[in-house]
């Protein structure tokens, strides 16, 4: 087995940088090290994919909508405020 190059990220370090990576907030040098690691590590590639899938799933939660009752209450408040001037 060959030893790792000195500036290679470990998997343990990579998982802590993943948010900065997907947010495009890594400095260029760290981004390069991140991508070099991904190129040779299928597990971290899977990890990054899971983070992206997680973000996608979070964005697909159903919307909350207002009850007709609450809406009517607000419309009344809006109207009565108008009538007060």
């Amino acid at each position: 087995m060959t030893a790792m190059p000195a500036d290679e990220l470990t998997c343990k370090e990579l998982v802590e940088l993943v948010t900065a990576y997907v947010e495009n907030a890594l400095p260029p040098n760290d981004r390069r090290r991140f991508e070099e690691h991904l190129a040779t590590c299928e597990f971290c590639t899977e990890y990054v994919r899971q983070i992206r899938l997680t973000i996608g799933a979070l964005g697909n939660l159903p919307d909350e909508s207002i009850s007709l009752e609450a809406l009517a209450e607000l419309q009344n408040a809006f109207r009565s405020f108008r009538s007060q001037g």
Partner: protein, 223 residues
């Protein structure tokens, strides 16, 4: 006319002007558009749905009463959500649940543990694999070729909601606005009044935890 993302200043000015002259149809549209995100953000502050709904109603009433004095130093949307956040924080303070103002910052500064438990990586003192220290020992298993369908199933959505509800308050607020509502980071920082760096720390922890919850689910499914 209702492009009130804050990017289009003249649309935002039109919206505010319509509310100031008490145009009820515009008001109704705005309520319908923002009620869901407001409720989610209120729930991120207060776990009780009944209380969260009350906070949202209070915020809307504050909008009705305050719109004439709105000076457009921010977009309407930022103003609206800040009112909500202030109401929610005041309420939490009154109930003695959080330290005022500094609570998000103190949450960032408190220890939260790693994104992935340390025992899933090769330890530096491993008898045989020490040269691989920091590499996966218990690697993430694949979620399959196309997990997108499983991820939108009702069961999985409930699991994601539960994972969000279990997060500390700051993480819950940030992930709700960033990922559930899809806001850009700048808007989130504006509304929650936190720095970009602190926002990213909270987002990182929150996403890591939700991913871990999904991993437990997929692992159990494949067993």
């Amino acid at each position: 006319m209702l492009d009130d993302s804050g990017e289009n200043e003249s649309a935002d000015a039109d919206l505010v002007a319509a509310l100031q002259r008490r145009d009820e149809s515009v008001f109704t549209t705005v309520v319908r558009r923002y009620h869901g995100p407001l409720l989610r953000l209120a729930l991120a502050h207060h776990p009780s749905r009944a209380v969260a709904e009350e906070i949202v109603q209070e915020a809307w009433l504050a909008v009705v009463q305050g719109i004439d004095r709105f000076e457009r130093r921010s977009s309407f949307k930022t103003w609206l959500f800040r009112i909500l956040v202030n109401r929610a924080r005041t309420r939490a303070e009154r109930e003695g649940r959080t330290v005022p103002f500094s609570s998000l910052v103190s949450e960032v500064e408190s220890e939260d543990g790693p994104a992935v438990p340390a025992d899933r990586f090769v330890p530096t003192d491993h008898p045989e694999w020490a040269q691989w220290a920091g590499h996966w020992m218990v690697a993430p298993k694949s979620w399959g070729e196309s997990p997108e369908r499983a991820l939108i199933a009702r069961e999985t959505r409930a699991l994601i909601e539960a994972a969000i509800a279990a997060l500390p308050a700051g993480q819950r607020q940030v992930i709700t606005l960033r990922d559930v509502e899809g806001w850009p980071s700048e808007e989130v920082c504006n509304v929650l009044q936190i720095s970009e760096t602190n926002q990213r720390v909270l987002l990182h922890r929150a996403r890591s935890r939700v991913r871990a919850a999904l991993e437990r689910y997929f692992d159990a499914e494949s067993r």
